[in-house]
Point group: C2
């Protein structure tokens, strides 16, 4: 009998649940499918979690917390804003291409939350917005530009774009078409900024988190 403390079992179950959702979809992620993936018994499931719903909630929160990275370009100095944005989006596309099922799982979880736990979906979205804001601020600072539209608005635009590009790629799986669209998107977003005249550059402390 493999005796394992509850909290590690919880982690294992959450990880297994994510794998099942990714590979077979949320509606196939039954308690039995999850425990099979985690190689446990049903009893262990309900020992670790009150209900399936609680696990799904935890899964959303968990997966949400680890979405930190991505999108942030590798911050190369001296590149134009368009280049930085393009790099960022391309990096995201690479990540998407590497783990498409994961991103599809995220989408399904968002939609599930939208029906049953709206606040969770809003938290998720707020997280994306924060990352977008930071990336945009950084990109503007490093390329010597400033946004002509409110940062919050540009961030919303960027998030909407990544969501849309994600769906686009997930549906068509057309790398080249998605890349073209991403390039155009970067150029379009960059048009919402203008160069800061040399000398009036504001100190980059504003670009912090």
């Amino acid at each position: 009998m493999a005796r394992t403390p509850v909290d590690v079992r919880r982690r294992e179950l959450i990880a297994a649940a994510l794998r099942v959702v990714a590979s077979r979809g949320l509606h196939e992620a039954s308690t039995r499918a999850i425990v099979a993936e985690a190689d446990m018994s049903l009893a262990s499931f309900h020992y670790a979690f009150e209900s399936r719903d609680e696990l799904i909630d935890r899964l959303i929160i968990d997966v949400l917390a680890k979405e930190e990275k991505a999108v942030l370009p590798d911050a190369l100095e001296g590149r134009s804003l368009t280049e930085l944005l393009t790099d960022g989006l391309m990096g995201y596309l690479d990540h998407l291409r590497a783990e498409p099922t994961r991103e599809q799982a995220m989408l399904e979880l968002t939609q599930h939350a939208l029906r049953t736990r709206r606040p969770l979906a809003q938290d998720q979205y707020a997280q994306y917005l924060r990352i977008a804001r930071e990336s945009l601020t950084l990109a503007a600072a490093h390329s010597g530009s400033r946004w002509t539209a409110p940062l919050e608005t540009v961030a919303q635009l960027l998030v909407a774009l990544t969501d849309g590009l994600t769906l686009n790629w997930l549906v068509n799986r057309d790398d080249e078409a998605s890349r073209e669209a991403a390039r155009a998107a970067a150029q379009a977003v960059a048009s919402l900024a203008q160069p800061v005249p040399a000398g009036t550059a504001r100190h980059s402390a504003e670009a912090a988190a």
Copy 2:
């Protein structure tokens, strides 16, 4: 006993299914929930359709065919490209605000198709692309501009944007924020076009459907 020919019963069932999906989500659209909504017996369901899956397929195809309209601006002459795009997106947002559950249902159906009937999802996406192309061509022609990026790419960008804005609004239900984002989006997309010098204007026959 209400004797009804099969084909009208099929239509009624599809309509009822859409209402159920919209109000309660795809996973709650069981055969029983649907026949209850349509006020029929279970036998009528399986007399009209082989299986639930067949109904869902038909629902996707059906709902897909009726998505024609929207996004196309009311084509006012003499307005700038940015204005036309803004109008188009605003019109879409209004539509979304008027029938949020329907659009949410479309999203769920797309995602379902993505897992089980990918070609259907691709058809749906191709349909969106076609509408976007037509709208963009029309808008450029009426505002005396031409796209500096390939039309197909700009269309992909526009579709991605509407998808993203849809998700954004569905999650946050913040009318003003979404409108701001839409305005910024219109401006950004418009930056991918440039005015056609007077005199070199191409005949607008190219703008036809």
